[in-house]
């Protein structure tokens, strides 16, 4: 944890009172993850940026309905995802993953956590392909929970699912992935 929720609450309270600079700080803090959530749906970086921008403006307009003591990030990301889904629905496109592996493992604004597993490029590509083959309902949970590193509660709020459903879908998706992975990559548990 970054030990900053109190600061964020103060920023939200100020933004609710019309302090646009406070809201600007919230935008800069969350724009990276917001852009990723949008990109997962629209699959185009330029459109994802437009969606993110619109979502932040909508979030600002809706701030008076946000409870200051509630977690801000999942509330914001739900607005981002809904905005992205509306774009996709209006163009009747399907939601598929279509993510690419980068040669630069610290692209974007998030650094890898030190505990994360070091896996080869071939393994990463294979795992990504397996995720892409999952049914939508499992894939969206796995992608938000692990690739975006969000908590079960955050994933629940963003996807509009009960936490229990996030847990059960995550568990079933993991079972499918384990079955598809070569034995050497499976857990011994």
């Amino acid at each position: 944890m970054e030990g900053r929720p109190l600061d964020e609450q103060e920023l939200i309270a100020s933004a609710k009172n019309g302090d646009t600079r406070a809201f600007g700080q919230l935008v800069r803090t969350h724009q990276g993850i917001a852009l990723r959530v949008a990109y997962l749906v629209v699959r185009d970086s330029s459109e994802a940026e437009d969606v993110t921008q619109d979502a932040f403006v909508k979030a600002y307009r809706s701030l008076d309905r946000f409870r200051t003591e509630a977690p801000f990030r999942p509330w914001l990301l739900k607005i981002v995802r809904n905005e992205a889904l509306n774009r996709v629905r209006s163009t009747k496109r399907r939601d598929s993953l279509a993510l690419q592996i980068t040669n630069d493992p610290v692209s974007g604004d998030a650094a890898p956590s030190p505990e994360t597993e070091v896996i080869s490029e071939e393994e990463r590509g294979r795992l990504l392909g397996l995720i892409e083959d999952l049914p939508d309902r499992y894939r969206s949970v796995i992608v938000h929970r692990y690739l975006l590193d969000l908590s079960e509660e955050e994933t629940s709020e963003i996807l509009g699912l009960p936490v229990g459903t996030v847990k059960s879908r995550s568990s079933r998706a993991m079972q499918r992935l384990r079955k598809s992975l070569a034995p050497e990559y499976r857990d011994s548990e």
Partner: protein, 256 residues
């Protein structure tokens, strides 16, 4: 809790995705937009004139809604000016709109939104659905108006309602909320065990696509046929009898 190897691999994978990076202008553009929306004394003054115009439009609208002769007069006036408008007295909401069935959609839209094969009745009766709804949970509901041969249920105006969703009736089907005034008959429909529930409104339990139980309540104070075919739960609600419902099932065919 210790992370499994697969969880660790997935987290590591998230770090190596080629995510788009926010452009340096993103936050500045957001700021420009929200600052331009800040209310000022001047802008509040500007809104007064549109408000007066809105009141005028409302007055005209009320006159048009309540006066057919006024509607025709306006249509004639605009027609004389080279503008054609259609005058309609149909102000009724879409059938089923009050039942909280989800978002009103077109059949061809809904096909892309769900993972299962939607089937519709192929016969002339009841014909093409009069409205189609898609719920957040992925339930597709088709609605037909009541007819003399299939009277509407209560004051809903609906004669037939067919809901499809991924899942199955399963062993969890529960009659716990079904009172003595409701009859339940078990039968076979499309080769699967099915339930015909007749009588007062009731609650029952089905399984969704993940096998999780979901509690459902009848939408119409009518009869319900519940069955599963090909991993899809079907629920047909009607004021008609079992034979009529089975006749509809016989005509079901995949959406072309």
């Amino acid at each position: 809790m210790k992370e499994s190897r697969l969880e660790s691999m997935l987290t590591s994978l998230g770090d190596s995705i080629d995510w788009p990076a926010a452009s340096p202008h993103l936050s500045a553009r957001v700021m420009t937009r929200i600052e331009s929306e800040q209310p000022t004394a001047a802008s509040r003054g500007i809104w007064r004139r549109p408000a007066i115009a809105t009141v005028a439009v409302l007055v005209v609208t009320v006159v048009l809604v309540f006066s057919p002769s006024a509607r025709q007069a306006v249509a004639d006036l605009l027609s004389a000016a080279g503008i054609r408008i259609g005058v309609t007295s149909d102000q009724t909401p879409t059938i089923g709109a009050e039942l909280d069935l989800g978002q009103l959609v077109q059949l061809d839209e809904v096909e892309d939104a769900v993972e299962f094969q939607i089937r519709i009745p192929g016969g002339r009766d009841p014909g093409v659905p009069h409205a189609v709804y898609l719920s957040d949970g992925g339930q597709v509901t088709m609605v037909w108006d009541g007819t003399p041969s299939l009277p509407a249920a209560g004051d809903t105006g609906i004669g037939l309602l067919l809901t499809q969703s991924a899942g199955n009736v399963g062993p969890e089907f529960a009659e716990k909320s079904i009172g003595p005034e409701t009859g339940v008959q078990t039968l076979m429909v499309e080769g699967q065990p099915a339930h015909w529930i007749e009588g007062a409104a009731h609650t029952f339990t089905l399984l969704d696509a993940e096998g999780d139980p979901i509690e459902e309540t009848t939408r119409l104070a009518a009869n319900v046929l519940l069955w599963e075919a090909g991993g899809v739960n079907h629920r047909l609600e009607t004021t008609g009898d079992l034979q009529g419902s089975l006749a509809v099932v016989d005509t079901l065919e995949p959406l072309p």
